[in-house]
């Protein structure tokens, strides 16, 4: 019981510590001032969330119970997160142990998020569009290539070596070739993102299909299913867990490619933003862009997980994730 409470309280203690450090210790003189104490604002928001959650967990209803369980499970993690930010604050702002040009204060990083919100919003939309188009093209072609390889021996013979040769090459290293083939750099960027999605999906789909229990097909044959029916109702559903694994690899790969691809002549997007701010030596904005990137990537993975849980609910009892 005490242990459980201690776990819950760790979050509050870590938060208090962060607030104390920020309020009691002056920033190093070499660290440029931000126009507003944004880091303190953020801690304030966290404080409000803490108060609401902890008060909420004291009641005797269902929501309270869930909240209480959640806090007990996650409070140490949140405490650790705040502690890490606190340490960064001490090292960068309070003591200025690292070059202040490359390691700006938290105030200025969060300030960049607030001040550049319109531009960042536009960049997110532009990147999301590029990502979506690239993902759709790469995902659909990859899925069909994978099915073709998985079911057709001739296709496997000719295409498999090709994927083995093309696959390991980072998609962005095609840029000189791609930029000269496509008329706009935007198309080139789409192509590179699509390529980075195509490879993992192709490999995982074909792999999934060739690993399907052969008896599953034999069963289908003995109850009168046509070859076509077997592909769509046995092969593909059985390969779906693998396809999703491919999707997860593809997402992280697509982000890496996105950032590089947007550096070539794109006028918007997170990658462009990062590159531009870096060339202007505005590292606070670079970090703000990185935070946006991380949140975006996690969001997409989270959505994928939700879709998978919905689609592959049957797997729960079969495979542990």
């Amino acid at each position: 019981m005490i242990r459980k409470q201690a776990k819950k309280i760790s979050f509050i203690i870590s938060w208090l510590l962060a607030v104390l450090v920020e309020l009691m210790v002056e920033n190093d003189v070499t660290q440029p001032e931000a126009n507003e104490p944004y880091y303190l604002y953020l801690l304030g928001i966290v404080g409000v969330i803490i108060i609401v959650c902890y008060l909420g967990s004291f009641f005797k209803n269902n929501i309270s119970k869930k909240l209480d369980d959640y806090l007990q499970k996650k409070a140490p993690l949140f405490a650790g997160g705040i502690l890490l930010i606190n340490i960064i604050n001490i090292v960068c702002s309070k003591l200025a142990l690292l070059p202040v040009l490359f390691f700006p204060s938290l105030d200025r990083i969060f300030g960049a998020l607030v001040n550049d919100r319109v531009l960042l919003g536009e960049c997110i939309l532009a990147s999301a569009k590029l990502l979506l188009i690239g993902f759709l093209i790469g995902g659909i072609t990859g899925f069909f290539t994978g099915i073709l390889i998985g079911f057709n021996k001739v296709a496997a013979y000719w295409i498999n070596p090709l994927t083995k040769v093309i696959g390991p090459i980072p998609p962005t290293s095609w840029s000189p070739l791609v930029l000269s083939i496509f008329s706009t750099s935007y198309q080139a960027a789409i192509f590179m993102v699509a390529l980075s999605v195509w490879f993992p999906i192709t490999v995982m789909t074909s792999n999934g299909i060739s690993n399907v229990n052969q008896t599953f097909f034999e069963v289908a044959e003995t109850v009168g299913a046509s070859k076509r029916y077997q592909i769509f109702k046995v092969g593909i559903p059985a390969a779906m867990p693998n396809v999703f694994l491919g999707l997860f690899y593809a997402t992280t790969g697509a982000f890496v490619t996105l950032v590089t691809a947007e550096m070539f002549g794109c006028k918007s997007g997170i990658g462009w933003y990062l590159n531009w701010q870096k060339s202007m030596m505005l590292y606070a904005n670079v970090y703000a862009g990185l935070i946006v990137l991380a949140v975006l990537c996690n969001l997409i993975i989270k959505i994928l997980f939700k879709v998978r849980t919905g689609l592959l609910g049957w797997q729960k009892g079969v495979i542990k994730w």
Binding site: E221, V223, G224, A225, K233, P237, L312, V318
Partner: protein, 262 residues
């Protein structure tokens, strides 16, 4: 009354497998067998004697290299729903619920709508009423095996081929399933051919027991089980048949070690 169908004629069937070392293994060597419509036949023999190969050839899952197999005078060229197959493992599709697993073949053939009642009937017959919406991983091995039987039966095959269908089950579930299969057999009046390692099972269920020899894989002897049904497992005649088959198996085995212990 329609004329009984489900007559299987096996003519001179041979099957060879290429071995990893380049030699050729004779899995079946000129097997001849005529199985009467509506009878229950067991194929028994030491492991590796080609029983399953023969069963799979009847199903059309792997074709014979020599010889022909006919179902009601029609040459078997490939798998068909006319010859239902119950595999050693249930092999239900884990992404489909029990109802959809059982009706899979009907859906594949596009006759699910007309045969919906059949699906219900077979689910009830194998005792899975109330589990239609359950997924295979939520049910026991025995229940899954029954569902797979229903899946093989619901398409009204002329012949049901059983490849050690109860091998993976515990002794009690196994005996229950044997009674169940007998009930279905009587009710549906279809031909059943079963591969088994279990002499008791073969004597308990079959009209005829086909004893096979290992390498070269041939039929050693066909024994008619002339016991009235329902049969008692401990009965004197029953034990006689059992001993008789075991003797043949020991004689038939190339190993000094007997395959079966008493």
């Amino acid at each position: 009354m329609v004329e009984k169908s489900g007559n299987i004629v096996i003519e001179n069937v041979s099957k060879y497998f290429d071995q990893a070392d380049g030699s050729v293994l004779t899995a079946l060597d000129g097997v001849n067998l005529n199985i009467k419509p509506g009878s229950f036949v067991s194929l028994i023999g030491p492991s590796g004697c080609g029983k399953t190969t023969l069963l799979r050839a009847i199903a059309g899952l792997n074709c014979a290299d020599k010889g022909n197999i006919f179902l009601d005078n029609e040459l078997i060229k490939g798998p068909s729903y006319e010859r239902g197959f119950a595999f050693q493992q249930a092999n239900l599709y884990p992404w489909l619920n029990i109802e959809k697993n059982i009706s899979f073949g009907l859906r594949a053939r596009g006759i699910y709508k007309e045969k919906k009642e059949d699906v219900k009937e077979y689910i009830e017959m194998v005792g899975l009423k109330g589990f239609e919406k359950s997924y295979p991983h939520q049910l026991s091995g025995g229940m899954n095996q029954r569902a797979s039987l229903a899946r093989a039966l619901v398409g009204h095959p002329k012949v049901l081929l059983l490849d050690e269908p109860f091998g993976a089950l515990d002794a009690f579930t196994r005996m229950n399933m044997q009674d169940e299969i007998l009930r279905i057999w009587k009710q549906q009046n279809m031909t059943m051919i079963m591969v088994t390692h279990d002499v008791d099972e073969a004597v308990y269920l079959s009209d005829q027991v086909v004893v096979m020899t290992p390498r070269p894989a041939k039929i050693e002897k066909i024994i008619d089980i002339e016991l009235s049904r329902p049969r008692a497992r401990g009965n004197h005649d029953f034990l006689n048949y059992r001993t008789k088959i075991l003797k043949i198996l020991n004689y038939a085995g190339t190993n000094k070690e007997p395959e079966f212990y008493l």
